[in-house]
Amino acid sequence: MTNIQNIKTRFYLDRTVAHGTFIILGVLLVLMASFSLLDGLSLRPVIFLLVSGAILAPFWFGFTQGTYVEISDKKLRVSRMFFRGKYTSLSNAISIHQRPIYGGLFAEVYLKVRKPDGTFREQGLINKPGLKEGDMKKLLEMIRSINPNIEVDQDLLHKTP
C-alpha cells in the first residue's frame, strides 16, 4: 500500500485560467498596437508587441510553473512565482476555511494553524477559482489524510449547483 504521507505532491494552478488570462491580455495588446496603424504601416506595433511579450512572459511562466501548493513530509508550503514560502506543519493545522475577497468575487482558502504559544495564525492556500475543483478536492483529501483531525469547511466539501 502506498503511504500517501510520503508522496511529494504539488498542486498547480488551473492552467486553463492561466492560459486564458494571458490570451486575453495578448488580444488586448494586439488591439492596442493596431491603433498605431492608423498612421500607416510602421514597425512600432511590432516592437511594442515584442517588448510587451517579453515583459509578460515571465509573469506567465511564473504563474504556470512556479506557483503551486506543495505537500511534503506532512508539511505544506505555498510557492508563488518561484518564491517559496515557509513550511507549515500540517500536524499543527486545525481547520480549513474559505472567505470572500474582492467583494465576494473570489474566495480565499486558508488553513488555521495553532502556534506554539497556543494562539492561532492563518496560512493562505490558494484562491478557489485558481485551482480546479478536482485538484481542490485532492488537496483537501491529502491534507486530511495526513491530519484527519482537521476540520474542513463543509462548503468546501460539498458543492451544490
Partner: protein, 507 residues
C-alpha cells in the same frame, strides 16, 4: 428396523442452534446465518424425491434441507463446510451418511461426501472446509432460497441415526479479500452529492437510495454496495450515524451528536447576524434541501478577467478625457488622432484591469500574493504608459509613469487586505448576498476602492498639471520635484485613512 433422520437442536429444545464458532479472521468473510432453513424428509425407497406425507413412516431415509444465504453480488465462493452432530441410534456401527449439495433446487447435485457415524455419543462430523468447493465453481446467486439445497442420505437398512443439528457455512471473499474479484459500479449522486443509485457495468441498477431532507433513508433497495450515502459521506450501519468528518450526524434527529467545534474554538467565526448558525448542533442551518455553496465562484474566472478588462477600459477612457479636459488637447487633434488616442487609452486600461484580475485569480493568498497582485498592476500600468506613448509617438514622463504605477499597485494590493466581515460568503442571485453583513462589507470595499481611485486620479492629474505649468506637454521634468510630489501623496493618504477611520467608527 427403524430408519429415521432427525433434525433437532443441540439442546433438544427444538429450533436451530446458534453459531458455535465458524468464523474466521482476516479478509475471509463467513456467512454465519442458517437463515430460512427448511427441512423435508423424503422417502427414497421408491426412488422418488417426493415429500412424504405429514406422518412420515420409517422408510424415510433422506432429508433435504433448503438454505438461504445473502451472498454479496460478485463475491468469490471459496468453500462450503458442513458440520453435523450425529450419533447412532442403535447397535449398528459405522453408519455411512452421505452429504451432497444442489445449486438448482435438487436438479443437480455435487458428488457425495460421506461421514461414517460411530458410537451413540453426539459427535460433530465435518465435511468440506473453507477452501473446499465440493468439486464445482459456485456463484453468489446459487445460494438463494429455493435454489440451494443440501441432501443427507443414509442406508435405510441400517439402524437409527440421530442428527442433532446440521450447520452449513459458506466461505467467500469480496473486494479487498485475498482472492477477491473486482466489480465495476457507478454511483449516481443526487443534488447534494449523496448516493442515489448505483449501476453495474451493464448499466443495470443494483442499488437505489433516497433520503428524507435530513438524511434518514426513504428508499433503500437492492444490494448494499455503497459505504457513502447521505450527502456522499460515510454511513455507519451499526450506529445509524453519518460520519461528517468533524462530527457524527444523526439523520433521524436532524442534528449532530456533538457541538460544532467553532463554538468552543473561535467565537469570531460565529455569525451573529444569522441566528440559524448559532445552534451548535444544527445541520446545514436547518436548510438541508437547498444548501447553497458560497464558493466564491460567483462568476467564471475568465469572465472576471473580462470584467476587469472592461472596467479598466472605461477607466482608461475616463482618464484620457480628464487629461484632455485639463490640457484642451481634444479639440487640437483630428478625429483620427482622437480615435487612436482613446483607443490606446481604453486598451491601456483594459490591459491593466484584466491583468490585475488575472493576477488576483492566480496569485496564491498571503502577503506575497498581495505583493504579486500589486506588482502586476504596477508593472502593467508603467508598461502600458510607456507602450501607449510609444505607439502614439509621445514622450513619457518617468515620474508620471512611476507614480501611476505605484498608485495602481497600492490600489490593487490594498483592496485585498481589507478586513473581512465574518459569515458566509456572498452569493450573487441569492438572498444571502444581500444580508446586512455583506452589504456593509460591499459598501466598505466600494467606498475604499472609489476613494483610492479618486485619489489616484487626482494625484496623477496634480502631477501632470504641475508638469504642464512648466511648459512640458505630457512629459518632461516639472517644477515640482519628485520628493514634493511624494510628500503630497503621503499627505493625501493620511487624510484618506483618517476619513476611513471616522467612517468605520460611526458604524
Amino acid at each position: 428396523m427403524v430408519a429415521t433422520v432427525e433434525h433437532t437442536s443441540d439442546s433438544g429444545g427444538g429450533g436451530i442452534p446458534g453459531d458455535t464458532g465458524f468464523k474466521t479472521t482476516g479478509t475471509v468473510e463467513v456467512n454465519t446465518g442458517w437463515g430460512n432453513m427448511t427441512t423435508t424428509r423424503i422417502n427414497t425407497s421408491n426412488n422418488s424425491d417426493a415429500a412424504c406425507s405429514a406422518t412420515c413412516d420409517n422408510t424415510d431415509d433422506a432429508q433435504l434441507s433448503d438454505y438461504s444465504f445473502g451472498i454479496p453480488s460478485g463475491a468469490t465462493i471459496n468453500g462450503i463446510e458442513v458440520v453435523a452432530e450425529m450419533a447412532e441410534g442403535g447397535s449398528a456401527d459405522n453408519i455411512p451418511v452421505g452429504f451432497s449439495l444442489s445449486w438448482n433446487d435438487g436438479l443437480s447435485w455435487t458428488s457425495v461426501k460421506t461421514a461414517t457415524v460411530d458410537g451413540t455419543t453426539d459427535t460433530d462430523y465435518t465435511l468440506g472446509d473453507s477452501s473446499d468447493t465440493w468439486g464445482r465453481s459456485w456463484i453468489d446467486t446459487e445460494f438463494a432460497d429455493g435454489t440451494f439445497r443440501m441432501r443427507l442420505d443414509k442406508n435405510p437398512t441400517v439402524d437409527n441415526l440421530f442428527v442433532d443439528y446440521l450447520r452449513l457455512k459458506v466461505f467467500y471473499t469480496t473486494d479487498g479479500g485475498e482472492s477477491s474479484t473486482t466489480t465495476v459500479a457507478y454511483i449516481h449522486p443526487d443534488h447534494l452529492g449523496g448516493t442515489n443509485a448505483i449501476t453495474d457495468d451493464a448499466g443495470d441498477v443494483v442499488q437505489t437510495l433516497d433520503y428524507y431532507p435530513y438524511g434518514t433513508k426513504r428508499i433503500e433497495s437492492g444490494q448494499d454496495l455503497s459505504q457513502r450515502e447521505y450527502i456522499g459521506q460515510y454511513y455507519d450501519e451499526d450506529t445509524a450515524l453519518s460520519y461528517l468528518n468533524a462530527r457524527y450526524y444523526d439523520g433521524a434527529r436532524g442534528q449532530f451528536t456533538s457541538q460544532d467545534p467553532v463554538f468552543w474554538e473561535d467565537p469570531l467565526r460565529q455569525n451573529l447576524q444569522n441566528p440559524q448558525s448559532l445552534n451548535s448542533y444544527s445541520y446545514a442551518e436547518n436548510n438541508p434541501i437547498v444548501k447553497s455553496d458560497p464558493t466564491g465562484r460567483c462568476v467564471g474566472p475568465l469572465v472576471a478577467v473580462c470584467i476587469g478588462g472592461g472596467v479598466g477600459a472605461i477607466g482608461g477612457i475616463a482618464n484620457q478625457a480628464f487629461n484632455d479636459y485639463l490640457t484642451g488637447e481634444f479639440g487640437e487633434r483630428s478625429l483620427r488622432e482622437d480615435f487612436k488616442t482613446y483607443g490606446v487609452a481604453a486598451t491601456q486600461g483594459a490591459i491593466v484591469g484584466a491583468g490585475t484580475a488575472g493576477a488576483i485569480l492566480l496569485a496564491p493568498v498571503g502577503i506575497a500574493g498581495t505583493a504579486i497582485v500589486g506588482g502586476t498592476a504596477g508593472t502593467l500600468t508603467v508598461g502600458t504608459t510607456y507602450g501607449g506613448n510609444y505607439l502614439l509617438n509621445k514622450p513619457t514622463d518617468p515620474t508620471n509613469a512611476i507614480v501611476g504605477g505605484t498608485v495602481s499597485a497600492l490600489t490593487a494590493g490594498t483592496l485585498r487586505t481589507l478586513p473581512q466581515v465574518v459569515g458566509r460568503n456572498p452569493n450573487f442571485g441569492t438572498q444571502a448576498f444581500y444580508t446586512g453583513a455583506h452589504t456593509q462589507r460591499q459598501a466598505t470595499e466600494e467606498f475604499f476602492s472609489n476613494s483610492v481611485n479618486t485619489f489616484a486620479q487626482t494625484a496623477n492629474r496634480f502631477i501632470s498639471t504641475q508638469n504642464y505649468s512648466a511648459g512640458t506637454s505630457n512629459g518632461g521634468g516639472g517644477s515640482s520635484s519628485l520628493v514634493q510630489q511624494l510628500q503630497s501623496l503621503v499627505s493625501s493618504l493620511k487624510g484618506l485613512v483618517s476619513s476611513l477611520s471616522s467612517s468605520n467608527n460611526k458604524k
